[in-house]
């Protein structure tokens, strides 16, 4: 349950106050006003560090640049350029493909791991620790490691499986597969961890009564575990989807964006750093932001409904 509270707090602070009638005054400011006063500094801080860059990026994206020199106001030209650019669509397509494929695989594998870790068996602590190792490794290092594993030289994977000189990272399709594979390896444990936390909140007597009613293991999974795990699943999918949508380090290190593995973030980085065009770069990052925000909002609204439903059933 700890998970919900953490996400609910982000937007629910004021709502909670709104639900209850204000307490009688004890002199000075009302409790609500006092609450707002206390919250104000952190809201201001959040606005300064989170909202300001977003707005500033949008403002930048309206200007026309030649390299670093500002040429003047360009309106929405940068956006028009982006939407007319095949590279943008290619990057968007890869990013979406990467997100769907990696999140789906991570969810299934993570759920499997979580179910295993939730069982009582000898060496459970060791298993839990072992499963978490990939997640602990910094992503760039994991990416470099998988580059060595997949690449023809030195070619660890080819040697182990006797594949000769199969060029995983040097052809379309397989390069995408390799990047997704590395991401699944890296973050399945994270999903498993979140789902495990959810699993542990499901009371054991639910399963007992299921068994009494004659439910088999799959029926218990389908009718008890998954519905009760829904909030945890949504949180895990939200985190992973948002993270997958802004993937940068894995494809950058493993393929450099070659062979149709260029993500939106790689494209943004190119226009901000390598071939600077702050206007176009800002436009691309604003588009990425909108895409990520939109998909994130869908999850949050699903989650919010979940919480509301829960609260009404609790009453």
């Amino acid at each position: 349950m700890a998970d919900h509270r953490a996400t609910a707090d982000d937007d629910g602070g004021i709502l909670v106050n709104g639900d209850k009638p204000p307490r009688p005054k004890r002199g000075g400011l009302s409790e609500r006003a006092l609450g707002r006063l206390f919250v104000a500094p952190s809201i201001l801080l959040m606005a300064a560090v989170a909202l300001f860059p977003v707005i500033y990026a949008f403002v930048l994206s309206l200007y026309d640049y030649t390299r670093r020199q500002r040429e003047g106001f360009g309106g929405l030209q940068n956006y028009a350029d982006a939407f007319a650019d095949d590279r943008f669509w290619g990057a968007l397509w890869f990013t979406l493909l990467f997100t769907v494929a990696s999140v789906a695989a991570e969810f299934l594998i993570g759920l499997g791991f979580a179910l295993i870790m939730n069982q009582a068996f000898r060496g459970r602590g060791l298993t839990r620790a072992a499963i978490l190792i990939p997640w602990v490794i910094p992503t760039v290092i994991a990416a470099q490691m998988w580059f060595f594993m997949f690449n023809v030289t030195p070619g660890f994977i080819n040697t182990v499986f006797g594949l000769g000189n199969f060029n995983w990272l040097g052809q379309e399709g397989w390069a995408t597969f390799a990047v997704i594979f590395a991401d699944v390896w890296k973050t399945s444990p994270f999903v498993a961890l979140l789902l495990l936390a959810g699993l542990q909140t499901i009371p054991g007597d639910m399963y007992e009564s299921g068994v009494v009613d004659g439910a088999g293991p799959f029926q218990r999974l389908w009718y008890i575990t998954l519905p009760l795990l829904r909030p945890a699943i949504l949180v895990a999918l939200l985190f992973r989807t948002v993270e997958a949508l802004r993937v940068y380090d894995l494809p950058q290190v493993m393929t450099g964006g070659a062979f149709d593995t260029e993500s939106l973030s790689i494209l943004v980085q190119q226009y901000v750093v390598r071939t600077p065009d702050p206007g176009y770069g800002a436009a691309l990052s604003t588009i990425s932001f909108v895409v990520i925000l939109g998909i994130g909002m869908i999850f949050v609204s699903l989650l919010g409904r979940e919480l509301v439903l829960e609260r009404t059933t609790e009453r």
């Binding site: 060029n167 450099g256 062979f259």
Partner: protein, 419 residues
Amino acid sequence: MRRDGRAYVAAAGALVLVGVACTPGDDDNGDGEGGEIVWAIGGAEAQPGGVHQSVAELWNDENPDNPVRIEQLPEEADQQREQQALELQAEGSNFDVLGVDVIWTGEYSENEWVESLEDVRGEIEEASIPGAFESATWGGELWAAPYNTNAGFLYYRTDLVDQPPDTWEALCDQAVEVSQSEDIGGFLGQGARYEGFVVNWLEYYWSAGGELYNEDQTEVLFDTEIAAQATEFMADAMENGCYAPGFNTAREEEGRNEFQQGNVAFLRNWPYVYSQVAGDDGSPANGNFDIAPLPTFTGQGTVSALGGFNNAVSAFSDNTEAAKDFVVWAATNEEAQTMLATEGSVPPTLESVYEELSDDPVMQVLGEILPDARPRPPAPEWNQISVEMQQSLFPAVNGDADVQSAVESVRSYLEGTVQ
């Protein structure tokens, strides 16, 4: 009680934030006092023990009043450029001397980030090798003093190959033959999609007689026929086994590694590989390899792409005069330039050092190559051009795109840059 405790923590946190915001930068290096020269340069040789440090020490012994301090930048050229750009964009005076990659000259001068060195042009031009000097100029004006240069070699295995090939075709024939008879890879270069790919492609293109621009970059001389020939050659080499497996994901280090492990017969790489392989007692290539100039399509001469770093004086430096003295000294001082070759792995730009060290095998081949080596155009838009060439040519080399339309799109992009 507990709640009070939290309030204190929160208050303390707020104070810390305010404190951080108000602390003046205390890493000021005393620019106003006119003494120290900060030299912002990156790469392996800028690290402690690297040859740039030795050069700085040599200067400091002679000029204790204006000592040089190296501000170490990252290894990757792109990241070095970004660090310098952050400082210069803000007109910061923290860097006095900038280690500028040969392809950044135009961008830096156009942005007015560097001082013109026209007033000391004479002595620098006289002492430096022409290619390196050219790479430090833009729009007919000198913006940096040459410091170190770089050029591509053909490394080959003397136990597998009798004679280094004169033409690319002969190289590929030998590579295919050796790879079949010895069961090792043929030829490896920099084939991954990054700047190195463009460098390798240009060496084919130039060696077939191609040009990108005219002298002052007002006209595009890009020849689509020659470009198609170069691209076609690379695509065929991918297909027919001339290139060793993994060519299209190999950068400098992958190639160096394969050659050092004895897995390929030929390698196109920079001079640094020589000492690495020669110093590795366990390498099958050690004692069984030599270096030669890169082949061409005609069998005549050689063309290599120039690399290297020049030293520029920051336009925002508070110590311009001393910085200028230092860059001129680093370009023309025989002892400092000799160090680059003897202690480091970066070829010097001072012409006289090449005569002096003509017994050294690397210096010998460099002396042969450098007169014909060519800089990539140091235009302000070079990075965009390079990315565009990677986008068009890399898929064509890999058989994922049509060669003719790839070279056409490079041509039309280049034409867009001169209008």
